[in-house]
């Protein structure tokens, strides 16, 4: 069990927790929180492989994670704006209630 295994386990655990939350919770914002957790777990994976991998001087892992952080922030902003405008129409954030295609 090298340190790399430890980091990969933590990342897998975070991914599974985020996935479980995103699939089971009813509030749309908590679903988005779960998605952010999954993205962060993948980032941890990248950094762990950069640190223990064969070519750390190429900085591929770090650059990938920087772009991933930026894209995740943009996606969180747009997702939350969507949730807010859906709330304005349906007056609820419960994903089980948002079930009609007709406006």
């Amino acid at each position: 069990m090298t340190p790399l295994h430890g980091y990969l386990f933590v990342a897998a655990l975070l991914f599974a927790i985020g996935f479980a939350g995103a699939v089971t919770r009813r509030n749309a914002i908590v679903v988005l929180i779960g998605i952010e957790l999954m993205l962060n777990a993948a980032n941890l994976n990248f950094i762990a492989f950069w640190r223990f991998g064969p070519h750390p001087d190429e900085l591929t892992g770090i650059v990938f994670v920087l772009f991933s952080i930026a894209v995740a922030a943009a996606e969180a902003a747009v997702g939350l704006a969507l949730i807010i405008s859906v709330y304005r129409h349906y007056k609820t954030t419960n994903v089980d209630r948002i079930d009609s295609m007709r406006g």
Partner: protein, 171 residues
């Protein structure tokens, strides 16, 4: 596995579980902020300094606050009237456990993972800047465009459509 790593991962995983199971939404968002901070500490353990600080600056300083604002704007701070988990929650948890088991099995049985721990690499900011400006210049510019599009899109989505409502109501 050092004691620091174990403590940090315990804190991170515990706050992630709290973020997914707590009833009060604002507590969920605050536990998420603790998770982000724990992850930033793990990045610092792995000697990725720039990414660790960028994680705190972007995630704790902006995304967590965004989530909190959205919770307040959608009246999420009151206790929810109905159940917080969907009725078939055990299916979700079962699938998540299967996902974790598959990944863990893949990690344990893989022969491609380097078995000896390499020396600590260092990524200076100068190197990172050089790479971003030469090899990854195209993704950087595209990222700028993406962030602009996301900014404009989010503002337009969340804008109140007062004109439409007024004209729709008059008819």
């Amino acid at each position: 596995m050092t004691a620091v790593f174990i403590i940090l991962s315990l804190v991170t995983v515990a706050s992630a579980i709290a973020a997914m199971t707590l009833r009060n939404l604002v507590h969920c968002a605050l536990s998420l902020a603790v998770t982000f901070a724990g992850l930033a500490a793990l990045y610092l353990q792995l000697n990725a300094q720039f990414v660790g600080f960028a994680q705190i600056l972007v995630y704790v300083g902006a995304v967590a606050i965004l989530i909190v604002f959205a919770i307040l704007l959608t009246r999420g701070s009151e206790p929810p009237a109905e159940a917080i988990f969907s009725s078939k929650w055990f299916v979700g948890v079962a699938v998540a456990s299967v996902v974790f088991a598959v990944i863990a099995a893949a990690v344990l049985s893989s022969r491609a993972l380097p078995s000896e721990s390499a020396s600590m690499p260092s990524a200076s900011v100068r190197q990172l800047g050089d790479e971003l400006m030469t090899r990854y210049i195209l993704p950087l510019e595209v990222l700028g465009l993406l962030l602009t599009a996301a900014l404009i899109g989010a503002v337009i989505l969340a804008l109140r459509e007062t004109a439409n409502e007024q004209s729709g109501g008059a008819k």
